[in-house]
């Protein structure tokens, strides 16, 4: 069969591009004659700017030569950002023209906004467009159900395909060699969060949940890069970097990795952590499963469904469960605490224990003073305690979290999930910013306290005080 696949394509860095190239390899191995058209120059046979009605109409001119058209669909490839309902309707109608000229049309939906199926100008155009597609492919049952409802498409037309069905191993390293190559001690219990760094991936949640495990011989490696030049993504990466530096045992390996290195990191890890705030489905989960690595993942998007497909996945609902799952996976209860023994006598036993409590807590939080390994030295101990004291009021304000979407009533859970899905794009950045501000405030207060106690500012005592008379 002569097939045209429309998709972003390597060497562009993009998750859909990686997915598509494996699909192309599979189809060609089955004997199909597959050519690729990408939205920009790449290793594809052709490229075409597909955004807007002109892009879709240009595509229409090309599709007649093929028996089948496969589109790896993301709205940004076709619809201008931002766009009005009129814009969207125009693009959908132009795409409709392209699809009607093609022999057979299959669309693999990687992401779509279900709101655009509502009645209205673009809703009508979208429903027409999707009804013209012969086969719509999604990766989870949830997507299948929601898509059918949103666009009025018969569920029979929508096919469910396992996300990783065409995935192949990319490294032949075993765990020992993989760790040696990455500089990971063979005996370190290693968590891994890997992928593009974006706020919705929630890698900061993994760091927060991990805090304290570093002192118990564990490590968390975050591997990835910012995919696009979005200022919000870059700011998130910076914040994540600060958080990682401040947390004992966490390493942020900022940079894009090849498919081989990506898999090598997975092979080297003990547990892969996917602390996503929202996601459609996860290729990382599939790659971790490919190597039999246990996974801890938040129960968002299509992950529960992917988890249900027999993989070793621990699903968690919130940050508290994430922390419990990570600590449990690391066998924290059976490990020896490297810290000093608890005080068991003395004139002020309570005070001594309280101090030890604060010190251990500070260590768990990843205090830089503690991470320096001098927690028993008098000055640093004082500094650490001082830092804990000044940041305490802010630390008592818990991290902001979105309300859970679970409920014992299925209908209520469904409504909550829908509300979450429809509002997440607005609410999550706010939550992220608030938490980032809180973390930055705690860090600044502790840093200042440590500096003042270890290196007093000359004349600090002479700061003039404001009197009533002034």
């Amino acid at each position: 069969m002569r097939i045209l696949m429309v998709t972003p394509y390597p060497p562009i860095r993009d998750g859909i591009a990686s997915y598509a190239v494996q699909a192309v390899k599979g189809l060609r191995a089955e004997g199909h004659d597959v050519e690729v058209l990408s939205p920009g120059p790449s290793a594809a046979h052709y490229h075409l700017d597909l955004v807007g009605p002109r892009g879709a109409l240009a595509l229409a001119k090309r599709v007649g030569r093929y028996d089948k058209l496969i589109v790896q669909f993301h709205p940004d490839f076709f619809y201008p950002v931002p766009s009005t309902a009129r814009d969207r309707a125009a693009v959908s109608l132009a795409l409709l023209a392209a699809f009607r000229r093609a022999g057979e049309v299959e669309v693999v939906v990687h992401e779509i906004d279900y709101r655009h199926g509502r009645l209205g100008l673009d809703g009508v155009a979208n429903r027409l467009l999707w009804s013209s597609v012969d086969r719509i492919v999604v990766h989870t049952e949830n997507e299948r159900r929601t898509f059918a409802q949103a666009f009025g498409v018969s569920p029979q037309k929508i096919t469910l395909t396992e996300h990783g069905v065409r995935f192949l191993p990319r490294t032949f390293y075993d765990r020992i060699r993989a760790r040696a190559s990455l500089g990971i001690p063979q005996d370190a219990f290693t968590f891994l969060s890997i992928g593009f760094i974006q706020p919705h991936k929630g890698f900061d949640r993994a760091v927060t949940a991990f805090a304290g495990l570093g002192a118990r011989g564990c490590r968390l490696d975050i591997v990835g890069s910012v995919r696009v030049d979005d200022p919000g993504y870059v700011a998130y990466n910076n914040e994540l970097s600060v958080l990682a530096r401040a947390t004992d045992g966490v390493g942020l390996h900022d940079g894009y990795v090849s498919d081989e290195l990506f898999d090598r990191w997975i092979v080297a890890s003990d547990v892969v952590v996917l602390p996503y705030r929202s996601i459609w489905s996860s290729g990382v989960l599939e790659r971790a499963a490919l190597y039999g690595r246990p996974i801890i993942a938040t129960a968002v998007g299509g992950l529960p469904e992917q988890a249900a497909a027999g993989r070793d996945v621990t699903l968690v609902a919130d940050d508290a469960e994430l922390r419990t799952a990570m600590w449990s996976a690391a066998g924290q209860r059976t490990m020896n605490f490297p810290s000093t023994p608890w005080p068991i006598e003395g004139d002020d036993l309570r005070g001594a224990i309280q101090q030890e409590v604060r010190l251990r807590a500070a260590t768990d939080r990843g205090s830089r003073v503690a991470a320096g390994g001098t927690r028993t030295a008098g000055t640093d101990t004082e500094a650490l305690l001082g830092a804990s004291t000044v940041s305490a009021p802010v630390r008592r304000v818990h991290q902001l979290q979105l309300p859970p979407t679970n409920s014992h009533r299925a209908s209520a859970a469904f409504v909550k999930r829908m509300v979450r899905r429809l509002t997440a794009w607005e609410v999550e950045p706010v939550v992220g910013q608030v938490n980032a501000l809180r973390a930055a405030t705690v860090e600044a207060l502790e840093e200042l306290a440590v500096r003042r106690s270890t290196d007093p500012v000359p004349g600090d005592d002479d700061v003039p005080t404001v009197t009533q008379a002034d």
Partner: protein, 407 residues
Amino acid sequence: MSEPTTQQGAPELERRGRIGLVPARFGPGMVGGAEIVMAEIAQGLKARGWDVEILTTCAKDHFSWRNELPAGLAEEDGLAVRRFPVVMEDIAERGVLEHAIVSGAELSITQQQRWMNSGMRVPELFHYLLDHSDDYRALVFTPYPFWVTFACSQVAPDRSLLWTCLHDEPYARLELFQPVLTGVAGLFFQSKPEHELAHRIVKPLAPHAEIGCGVDVPQKYDPDGFRERYNIDGRFVLYSGRREGAKGWPDLLTNFAGAVGRYDIPFKLVTMGAGPIDAPPEIADRVVDVGFLSNDERDNAFAAADAYLQPGRWEAFSRTIMEAWLAGTPVIANNSSEVVRWHCGRSGAGLTYDDQHEFEQCLAFVSEAPDAAAALARSGRDYVLAHYTWDAVLDRFEAGLGEWTRP
């Protein structure tokens, strides 16, 4: 890791499985160190019993990338060569992005990707590897910044090796190349400075080895015959390679013209290779282009020269200075090149310059003390023979194959 090693007790290397060598250009008359080296490695591996195939493009010229050679599989010089057509669009934005990179501006990853994909591309080669990479035990790419290496080494990174040719140039520091240098089966470095540079700019580095580069040792030289055949009277200094900015050719002309203007320099400047001459009028009659030479005639040219000039700032190895030293000819090289500086210091057989004045004094030394210059060069031949024979380099190359790939 400095050299690939075979684990104690491991079985001897099995020369099983096809090795695909993937230079962006291949064939007689190519002026380019990496391309020449790939041809030598191909012949060397074949002679040692490997099943070798060249995967390359239909282009000969690395500026136009015109498809001049037929696509498909053919036997060339005893080797199986599979050629694929180049798609060359030369999108206008590329020039702007290129300028930004070279001038040190920070480009976003999206811009870097646009730069990489806006010049030559070889989709058919990419898809051939997508379909057939499992047929190869290893795929060896070179040099790192070409689209062929960048895109195609990522098709099957677990069996991709790089003859890296890493220079301390702005391209090397682009984030774009990190996956190529971190996530392939192995990297071959030609010198210690190249190896050290890689550690400075890449983390974590893919498995790697410092294996050097091989140079053929001529059995004899015919300097007088060379002078006669090319009608060259008097003494001359020599430049060999691509005549382009990246190789330091315009700077060399400027320095040479300056030296001629200020001093009674007895030398002509003989050049072999490819690219326009563009000599300033005041030295036009002193610059002699002998074109692209056969290997024998190339060696004769080295032997006939008073000194070999290496003005390039970015060298991963510099085969030509080895060829000069083998011929008993001293080297005058740009001190900015860390690799050449390292070779000159280690061998004791080359002078380096940092500016016009030092360049002139280097020429003055060779002019006024030719015996001392020849004595200086003598240790260069021993240096090459001790480190860079093809046998030794292929041994190390095979050790890398054995360690990083599977039959």
